[in-house]
């Protein structure tokens, strides 16, 4: 198998540049969970090196470790040598998928996207198609929640944004992070047929879509909170929140897109008192929902979300607010799991768009 990892081989310099200083270990949620070096970014870099040199075979243990990475990218932020550890992991995943090492659960997700254009394989997605002034990319996660999507569109209209909505297909981000290279390329082609990138900027609800669409199109993609923050005025707030909250920065929105001030500004406008967690902004910790681990290792994902919820509870806040549908769902699972352990009411997890909708005008739609 020696020298046959041509994709990974291109990143060999990253592996040799890594000084093994270990600064990546204590920011990695996977290492913090179990504490074995094999589960650290440095460990994954070493395993990738072993594959390149032909000293390691892609056995079950190695494959498992490579796919446990949540792609939160906190290792890359902390690395003093600017080593592209997340890219090495993605490259290793591509190599492993090519060798037939993908698991059934991830293949099922990939098939969903390929066959239906939708992450969940939902053939009955209701696309709220409409004419408008600004192109909007809703994203699979939000499309799977038609009621909240309707509210989000209403919210945009209240703020004077007229979104143009077409029948979109998945942006392909999940395929990329799970290592389905060929499928990802085809999905990007399908996306470009279904969705026009001619007009800029394009708005989106989803942090993952924001980062990925920008990467594949090279166009200006705005997360909806950037636009909302520009438009939201005090007089539009009918019912201030007046709560002590803490804010969970989604990895793709904070480290990925550098958007961590806008949601805080919005929360302040809504009358929230923000009590920060220990790990915030571009040093935020993963909720446990990234990089495909929800389908790879749900136990690990659950433990990560519980750790993040515990951090939120420790602030003394009444709830944790976030801006990503995956973070919201994953954190809710973590909160429920903690409830199973301590019998208390689940710690509230709220999407900032839901909070905005309620605060800007009373809703007559089901909540």
């Amino acid at each position: 198998m020696k020298n046959s990892y041509s994709d990974l081989e291109k990143l060999k310099n990253e592996m040799l540049t890594c000084t093994m200083c270990g600064f990546c270990k204590n920011v990695c949620p996977v290492f913090l969970d179990a504490g074995w070096d094999t589960g650290s970014p440095r460990g994954r870099m070493t395993m990738a090196y072993g594959l390149v040199t032909g000293e390691l075979e892609p056995d079950e243990n190695l494959v498992n470790r490579i796919f446990q990475c949540t792609q939160c990218r906190d290792c890359a932020r902390r690395c003093p040598s600017s080593v592209k550890c997340p890219e090495v992991v993605l490259s290793a995943r591509r190599e492993l998928v090519k060798r037939g090492q993908a698991v059934e659960t991830q293949m099922a997700v990939a098939k969903n996207i390929i066959h239906t254009g939708n992450l969940y394989g939902d053939l009955e997605v209701a696309y709220p198609e409409q004419e408008g002034e600004v192109p909007l990319f809703i994203g699979c996660q939000h499309l799977s929640r038609p009621n909240s999507t309707k509210r989000n569109i209403l919210l945009m209209q209240r703020l004077g944004i007229k979104p143009r909505i077409v029948k979109e297909v998945c942006c392909g981000f999940p395929l990329e992070v799970m290592g389905f290279e060929e499928e990802h390329e085809k999905q990007v082609e399908r996306l470009k047929e279904a969705f026009s990138f001619d007009e800029e900027p394009i708005l989106t609800f989803c942090p993952g879509c924001k980062v990925h669409l920008e990467k594949i199109s090279g166009k200006k993609i705005l997360h909806i909170l950037q636009e909302i923050n520009n438009r939201l005025a005090k007089e539009q707030i009918a019912k201030p929140v007046n709560a002590k909250i803490t804010y969970h920065d989604p990895c793709d929105l904070s480290r990925g897109a550098g958007i961590f001030q806008e949601p805080r500004d919005i929360l302040k406008k809504l009358g929230c008192e923000i009590i920060e967690m220990k790990y915030i902004k571009n040093a935020s910790r993963c909720c446990g929902g990234g990089g495909g681990i929800l389908t790879w290792d749900s136990g690990l994902s659950e433990r990560m979300s519980m750790a993040r919820i515990r951090e939120a509870i420790a602030t003394g806040a009444e709830m944790v607010v976030t801006a990503c549908p995956t973070c919201e769902q994953t954190l809710k699972k973590g909160a429920l799991k903690i409830t199973e352990e301590n019998g208390n009411k689940p710690f509230p997890v709220v999407h900032i768009l839901d909070m905005l909708f309620k605060a800007t005008k009373q809703s007559h739609l089901p909540s």
Partner: protein, 485 residues
């Protein structure tokens, strides 16, 4: 000492599983491969990675190792830089990271008690509210206290605050034959016989496995002020260091960086330090009035020695920024040239403080003879200089040049009355020159090792027992024959 394999056989590993539980033993190839590497230049695969939970389990494992004749390599975070964690004869890695409880913080007695796997910064975060701290190495956010004791690690604050050695009051240790002993005391001083707790400081895992540490704490200074100064020539910076100490002023930190280092930090951190031949970072801490007076004097000395740029600040945020750059120095250097990597060679020599300018000048002259970079920087205030060799790790010629350059560097250091290692240790990479430096005392060190570890179980073939060149067991994609090395 010629290396004889001391492998752990499957039946030994099975017995270890019974002692610590199946989940605490890893033998998959990926695990063994990963644990074969650490932050040093060398590598070698262990036969198992074992994560014990307490001293009793470790004692049983050590007794088994004596019975079955396999090596044990204790390991903390794997941040050691000289091959300390490399299982050169096989055997098991004892991963102590999960023995990480802070057992006691006792401000009244000025001490704290920790397990070996506690990370230095985690302890300092816990000590902060009591207004105490333990001075740590640049790797304090990753390094464990067990490893710090075993390597007698220290960092930028050693001039004023000393090294890890100066904080160890007592230890619980599992000896190489499996006894659990306590040495030292819970008192700030003791004259009760041999200072055995100090014997285990700097032993690099060869004399015992540290299972509990009682540490003295230093008071957290009330105020810190910093002065950053840039000089046209590196020697001017070196002379400034000697002049500051001679006042006498003991800054909390006094760091020197050469031009390449400044470029590397700027590139990695975007700090925007001025390009120069020599850069000094100086911090004074303590009572606010004393700090003000000290930093003013420091500034004057910098000016007198020709500093063309001086950034003088009491702003905590700016101070943190400046030191963040310094803390990232080692790793930052690896981004200077794409195909070059930082390798842990000639990484921490120490010379008498007055010899810093001579050493720095000499290192630069040596660098000029070769195609590789050897940028000097370091904790100049305590005479501890780093060079770090930057080379293309796939280029054999670079390694051979490095070997020659390192030899010249160490010869110069010894000639100036220095030591080959101020804070990282010996293990593999410095063994050859260490033996030259400590020729007189090596028979005594060896006698201690043989007496305490008759079967050569604990981290064997390191320090005085490493007879090969540092070019063997490299973790990089080059190989050298015995003749070449």
């Amino acid at each position: 000492m010629p290396i004889v394999e001391k492998r752990a056989k499957p039946e030994s590993i099975e017995r270890i599983r019974e002692i610590v539980g199946t989940d605490s033993v890893r033998t998959s190839k990926a695990d063994l491969y990963v644990y074969g590497f650490d932050a040093g230049m060398h590598r070698s695969m262990p036969d198992a990675v074992v994560r014990p939970q307490n001293a009793e389990q470790i004692s049983q494992i050590v007794k088994l190792a004596n019975e079955h004749d396999f090596a044990i390599i204790p390991r903390g975070a794997g941040t050691a830089l000289c091959g300390h964690n490399t299982p050169v004869a096989g055997g098991i890695i004892l991963d102590l990271q999960k023995m990480n409880r802070i057992k006691e913080i006792n401000p009244g007695d000025l001490l704290c008690v920790v397990e070996p796997g506690v990370i230095c910064d985690d302890l300092n975060n816990a000590l902060k509210k009591y207004r105490f701290f333990i001075p740590g190495p640049a790797s304090s956010e990753a390094a464990t206290l067990g490893g710090m004791v075993a390597a007698n690690a220290s960092g930028a604050k050693a001039l004023k605050y000393g090294a890890t050695r100066d904080y160890v009051l007592g230890l619980q240790v599992v000896t190489p034959t499996g006894e659990i002993i306590r040495c030292g005391t819970r008192t700030l001083k003791n004259s009760s016989g041999y200072q055995l707790e100090k014997l285990f400081v700097g032993m690099e895992g060869t004399l015992g496995i540290i299972t509990e540490i009682t540490l003295k704490m230093a008071p957290l200074p009330e105020k810190t002020a910093a002065c950053a100064a840039a000089f046209k020539e590196l020697v001017e910076a070196g002379q400034t260091v000697a002049d500051i100490i001679a006042v006498p002023i003991f800054p909390a930190q006094l760091e020197i960086m050469s031009d390449i280092c400044v470029k590397a930090v700027n590139k990695a951190t975007g700090l925007g330090l001025p390009e120069c031949g020599g850069f000094l970072l100086i911090a004074c801490d303590g009572h606010p009035e004393a700090v003000k007076d000290e930093i003013r004097k420091v500034k004057e000395i910098c000016e007198k020695n020709g500093a063309f740029f001086i950034d003088y600040t009491e702003d905590a945020k700016r101070i943190e920024e400046l030191w963040k750059g310094r803390k990232q120095m080692l790793a930052s250097l690896s981004v200077i040239k794409p195909e070059f990597s930082t390798v842990m060679l000639a990484d921490d020599m120490a010379v008498p403080i007055s010899k810093v300018p001579d050493a720095v000048k000499g290192f630069l002259e040596i660098q000029d003879k070769y195609d590789i970079y050897i940028p000097p920087y370091g904790h100049a205030g305590d005479g501890n200089l780093h060079t770090k060799v930057l080379l293309n790790p796939e280029n054999k010629e670079h390694w051979l040049q490095a070997e020659k350059a390192v030899r010249e560097i160490y010869d110069l250091v010894l000639q100036l009355g220095g030591t080959v290692t101020g804070e990282h240790g010996v293990a593999i990479s410095k063994a050859e020159y260490f033996k030259k430096e400590r020729a007189d005392s090596i028979p005594f060190m060896r006698a201690i090792k043989r007496a305490l570890d008759p079967k050569n179980i604990l981290n064997p073939y390191k320090i005085f027992d490493w007879d090969e060149s540092f070019l063997s067991n490299l973790r990089y994609p080059v190989e050298f024959s015995k003749k070449e090395a």
